[in-house]
Each structure stands twice: as structure tokens, then as C-alpha cells.
Amino acid sequence: MEEFQPIPPSQPSAPAPVPGEAPAPGNRRVKRRLMLALIGLWVVSIVAGVAVILRPAGEKQGKGGESGSILALSKDAVGWIPIHGPIMASDGGKLWEKGVEQWSRRLRAMAETQGIKAIVLDINSPGGSVGAVQELYSQILRVRKEKNIPIVALFGDVAASGGYYIAAACDKIVAHPGTLTGSIGVIFQVSNMEGLFAKVGYKSDPIKSGAHKDIASPARAMTPEERRIMQALINDAYGDFVTAVAQGRNLPESEVRELADGRIFSGNQALAGKLVDQLGDSQDAVELAGKLAGIQGKPKVRRDVDSSRWFAEMFESSFGRRTGLDSLLSALPQTHGGLLYMWHGW
């Protein structure tokens, strides 16, 4: 047993701290240690939080691909991106505009979104300009390769020409029985207004650096040589289309060429011609995408919503009504120039 040791008189007990005075050194040390411990705990919790957020996707999944693991942040989902209207480059590439830049950006953003395991492209488009369609086609292939996620195309009313071209880059295609698709081909619309110009007394007299600089000019008829040049151009772009379909659908080029005379097909006909994989609706497309991604059960859908465009369209439409621009524009025929993967019947 330890003996009682009296405090020597030379060591007085510590006085009680007086408010306003500097705290005793021991008290300060305790404060510092306590606060450092708390700050350390905060840092640990932040690091743990960041680690949970940044875990690789595979670790978040439980057995059988289910996302029921501890600290799972999100259920696996299928992204939904609508591609509606002609596929063209936007006017200025602004965020709220509609065009191939915005679709490409949204596709990539969706593929990079946490929890997105597959994407459904809801296509309702008669096609568009060759450059824009090929850009989107290339972006879809890139996203599939880089992010390793399946992409399923769902056809709405129409997915013709360029609309079908981009679908060829997807893993699978789902169409409604009455969808209008096909129209595999290229068109370059040239108007000859020579007669009209003559009537109004207009005469074009271009000064050219070369013989073909004013090729496809509406002010005169095309020469046989120019027609040959244009046809070669069309054939080249047509070859790209056929190759894309043959590669995407895993069909021989000869078989694709038989279907690629520019005609349109219904969903039923397209299925018979192996241009689509199955007939179905949006739910079927989501379930197929989920199945390809290995999602168990009914997949959650995450829709791509662009609120900025909604606002921009609201103001544009208000402006159009006020100024009468809407009625003027609707009276004009919708024309698109240049080389087109487009079906004009829609």
C-alpha cells in the first residue's frame, strides 16, 4: 500500500483562474489538445466522406450487381436523353440552344454521372446535316468505348436518315411498330432559279477563282461535269452511312445496300430487315438498357432535364408572339442547305 505523501509547503496549489486573466498553461494545453482532437476527427470524417463519394463504381455494388452495400450512395440508374428534331449544329453553341454540341455535351455529362450504368437515347428526328450527324455518331461511339456503358436507342414517331445513322452507333435499337425509320441515304438539294431570275431581270455574274467555285449556284443550271462532282460527293457520304450501318448492325454491306435506297420503313419492316433489334416502348428500352448494364430488377431512370433551355424557349416564344415573328417563320418553308442525311417527309 502506498503511503500518504503530504504536499511540501514549497509547492503551493494552483490558484483558481480569475475571469479576464490569462488561463493557466495547463488549461491552455488541455484546450489545445481537445480542439486538435476534434479537428482531427473532423478531418477524418471529411476524408471518409470523400472516400465514400469517390469509391470506384464496382465497389458500391453488392452481390449480383445490387446496390444495397453499406454506405451506397445511389441506386444504379439508366440515363434518358431525348434527341428530338433535326440534328444540326446550333447557332452559337450556347448552353440553352438545341444542337449537336449540346447533345454531345449532355451525353458525356450523363455518362459521367454517378450511378448511371446505361443510357437510352430517345430519338425522334428526321436526320440532319452530315457533319452534325457524324459528330454525334462519333461521340456515341466514344462514350461507349471510354465509359464502357451500354447505349440503347428508342425510336419515337420518326428516326429516319441521320436519326437512324446515330442509332447505328448504339448497342441496341428499340422501335415502335409504327415508327418511321430507314431513309438511308444522302441528299443535296439544289434549286435552279434561272427562269425565275430571268423573269425579274436578275442576272448573276460571279467572278471565280476556279471553274467550280459557284457549283450548285441557284442562278444557273448545273453542268454535266458539276453533276459528276456532286454525285461523287454524295456517293462518298453515302458510303460512310452504309459502312456505319453495316458495322453498327453487324450486317454485310451488300445487305445494307439493298435496304439503303432511301426508302422509309415502318418499325415492323425494319425489324424484318434487321435494322432494329426489337419492337417495344420506352419501358422496354429502359429494361433492355438495365439488362445490358447488369442492373437487377426495375432500373431507376434519370432524365436529362435542361432547365436553361426551357426558360430560353419560354422567352423566345413570348418574343416571337409579341413581334409576330412566329407566324412569319411558320409561313416560310423549313429549308436546310448542304449535304444532308435527312428525310424531308416529316
Binding site: 489545445r32 470524417s45 471529411i46 466522406g49 463519394i53 450512395l73
Partner: protein
């Protein structure tokens, strides 16, 4: 007195901390507190999947920190103005630092959210309860800071603190009502 001791005193002896902050006015320390509070808020929002407008990235984190510091400056300025109108004397700089110290409490949300996700992985309500609880604690500490800095009653500090938030809500409601009114007028014009 170091920053660590100021934080300790803010929770242990808040009047002493207020006096100390009033003497030294460590504004940079206040900025750091708001920024760290912003980090906690950002991480906890991401963990609870409440990051609606931003994605998880360094730029988003910096934006949140900037937003927290800016909001802190504005709140301190508005509250100082409100107290000044009421004839109360105090330092706006000290108030900014004390509000920043209150903002540090968002650090509590991160471990709580982690625990909530551990025990209730498929539920959203624990996150809401945590944010409400910690948010109320932050607000109460802000009210206390106001009380310590301007020597006002608890009730007055709460009313003064509520004023900017209520003003913001009222302004939003007025804006929404105006937008709705304009939309109704447009629909009526279109119908005619």
C-alpha cells in the same frame, strides 16, 4: 489567443470568445471558418445526395466555399445594419468572425450523415432530420453571436436574425406571385 483556443472558447465560454474576437477582429480567421463550414456542408450534401445544382468536383467545392464566405459577408453586413437601426453598438468585423465560428458547426453533419447512411441506407428522412437539427444549431449559435456582439436580449437577437431570411422569403414569394400573375395575363391574352 490562437484560433484553436478561440474555437474552444466559442463553445465553452462564448462571452470570453466574443470579447477576444472583439479585441483582435481576426477577419481572415472568420473567412477560414466560413470556408471550412462550406467544405463540411458540401461533403454532407454530396453524401446525402442533396447536391442538386452542382456536381462533385473541385470547382463546385470552391464555388460552395466562395458562396459561404460571400453569404457570410452579406449576412454580417445586413445584421449589422439592422442592429445599427435599432441603436445597438457593436463591431461588424467581430460579428463576421462569430458567424463564421457558428458556421463551423456544419462539421457535425458529415459524421452524422455517414452514420445515417450506414444504418439507414435506403432512407432519406435521417438526412433531412440531420440537416434540420444541425441547421437549427447553427442558427441558434448565430443568434447567440448577435447577442454577445451587440449585448441584446435572446428574443431580440432571434428576431433580428430572422429578418434577413424572412425578407428573402418574402421577396421570393413576391417574385413568384408576379411571375404567376404575368403568366395568367398571358394565358388570358392568348385565349382572347
Amino acid at each position: 489567443m490562437t484560433g484553436i483556443e478561440t474555437i474552444y472558447d466559442y463553445f465553452e465560454d462564448h462571452q470570453k470568445a466574443a470579447t477576444s474576437v472583439n479585441e483582435t477582429r481576426p477577419l481572415l480567421f472568420g473567412v477560414l471558418c466560413f470556408a471550412l463550414g462550406g467544405v463540411s456542408l458540401f461533403i454532407s450534401h454530396t453524401l446525402s445526395q442533396r447536391l442538386t445544382f452542382l456536381t462533385f468536383s473541385w470547382s463546385s467545392l470552391l464555388l460552395t466555399m466562395l458562396w459561404q464566405v460571400s453569404a457570410g459577408f452579406v449576412l454580417a453586413a445586413v445584421l449589422h445594419m439592422i442592429m445599427d437601426i435599432q441603436g445597438r453598438k457593436g463591431s461588424a468585423g467581430s460579428l463576421f468572425v462569430l458567424l463564421g465560428l457558428a458556421n463551423l458547426v456544419w462539421a457535425l453533419a458529415v459524421p452524422f450523415i455517414l452514420l445515417a447512411r450506414l444504418f439507414f441506407p435506403d432512407k432519406n428522412w435521417p438526412g433531412s432530420v440531420i440537416f434540420l437539427g444541425v441547421g437549427f444549431l447553427v442558427l441558434s449559435l448565430k443568434a447567440r453571436s448577435l447577442r454577445d456582439n451587440y449585448h441584446v436580449s435572446t428574443a431580440r437577437s432571434w428576431v433580428s436574425l430572422a429578418m434577413p431570411y424572412v425578407a428573402l422569403i418574402v421577396a421570393a414569394l413576391i417574385g413568384l406571385s408576379l411571375a404567376l400573375w404575368v403568366a395568367i395575363l398571358k394565358v388570358m391574352q392568348w385565349a382572347h
